[in-house]
């Protein structure tokens, strides 16, 4: 999902910066307030950030004969919501843009929007909807992380399509062309990311379900059901 340095023409790179900046600024504000009010969330925040670091460094082969990488943002969006997750994504994307020439500083706004905002927003909404409909906790986490990953890549395809509309067929035709590169490639990767996120989430619930209940991420009832299943 990294749009390479210099690959978004005016006015698109400015537009995506303009959309991302307020979200990230609000995310920083929320993060500071959360850490101040509730120190016990800090280790979980570190784990969610580290999870993005690990997963986004893994370039995996897919059924299309090309490679892509997971995003790791599903975990953060489930526990902390999309605002704070956008800040975690900024850290990783800046590191990769500066040291690895993956993505870029001029395309940072667009990349933060896809990986740090759109994906996590989808993940958060899917998780909340799945929990409300009474789905099993780990299945809800799986679905949220899988769809957050997939949505990230579809948004990247959309961003590129808007910036490079085809001569015939316009932005829709180029969306099909960009989605052909990303969408199928990402399906198995997204599923693996969802599964690994669910496993990671299980370990966090095992160890600190008290914090997650206080943060209103899981209900005390859902934790009791899981404990009962283990007994």
């Amino acid at each position: 999902m990294h749009i390479m340095e210099g690959f978004l023409p005016h006015p698109w790179w400015e537009i995506w910066f303009a959309l991302s900046l307020p979200v990230v600024a609000y995310g920083v504000h929320r993060m500071n307030r959360m850490i101040k009010d509730n120190r016990e969330t800090l280790p979980l925040l570190a784990v969610a950030g580290a999870f993005v670091f690990v997963l986004s460094s893994l370039k995996l082969p897919s059924v299309t004969g090309s490679c892509s990488h997971p995003t790791g943002t599903g975990m953060g969006s489930i526990i902390f919501g999309p605002w704070i997750t956008s800040v975690l994504a900024v850290i990783v994307l800046v590191y990769q843009a500066v040291f690895l020439a993956h993505g870029g500083l001029t395309t940072l706004g667009a990349n933060v929007f896809s990986m740090g905002i759109a994906g996590p927003m989808v993940g958060y909404l899917v998780y909340r909807a799945a929990m409300r409909s009474g789905l099993h906790l780990f299945l809800a986490v799986f679905l949220a992380a899988t769809l957050a990953d997939w949505a990230t890549y579809l948004v990247t395809a959309l961003q590129l399509a808007l910036a490079f509309p085809a001569a015939s067929g316009g932005a829709y035709a180029s969306f099909e062309a960009f989605a052909a590169v990303f969408a199928i490639t990402q399906v198995p990767l997204a599923a693996v990311e969802g599964a690994v996120t669910a496993l990671m989430f299980k370990y966090i619930v095992e160890l600190r379900s008290d914090v997650l209940v206080r943060m209103n991420v899981v209900s005390a009832k859902a934790v009791a059901v899981l404990k009962e299943a283990a007994a």
Binding site: V47, A50, V63, V98, A101
Partner: protein, 113 residues
């Protein structure tokens, strides 16, 4: 505290990863793929759509001088992340265990120590 039905989730995740590897092995055996990055393939699409007329207007301020150094930096990224995850999960596990031990009757505490 144990939750879920034992190692069921671990088994499912492992199964899915095996499936992922099998899909890779199958794809690799059915033709010549270059396994290039989807991100750089998107560059190819841009070039097709614009008839090759688009040139990036800004260059990366730094590029790893070789593929080796690039993979070093990626490995470093993964290592730092894993370290943080392992540290905190271990820290939580030890606290949970210490609490369980101090809550247990004296006899158990001696055995555990």
């Amino acid at each position: 505290m144990k939750i879920g039905s034992g190692m069921k989730l671990e088994a499912i995740v492992l199964g899915l990863i095996m499936l992922f590897i099998a899909a890779f092995a199958y794809t690799a055996s059915t033709g010549n793929h270059d396994w290039s990055g989807a991100d750089s393939q998107a560059e190819g699409v841009i070039s097709d759509l614009t008839g090759g007329s688009y040139t990036p207007w800004y260059q990366s301020i730094y590029e790893p001088p070789s593929g080796e150094i690039e993979s070093l930096l990626f490995a470093l990224q993964a290592a730092v992340g894993s370290l943080i995850i392992g540290y905190f999960l271990g820290y939580y596990r030890a606290i949970a265990k210490a609490k369980a031990v101090s809550a247990a009757p004296d006899g158990d505490r001696k055995q555990d120590a």
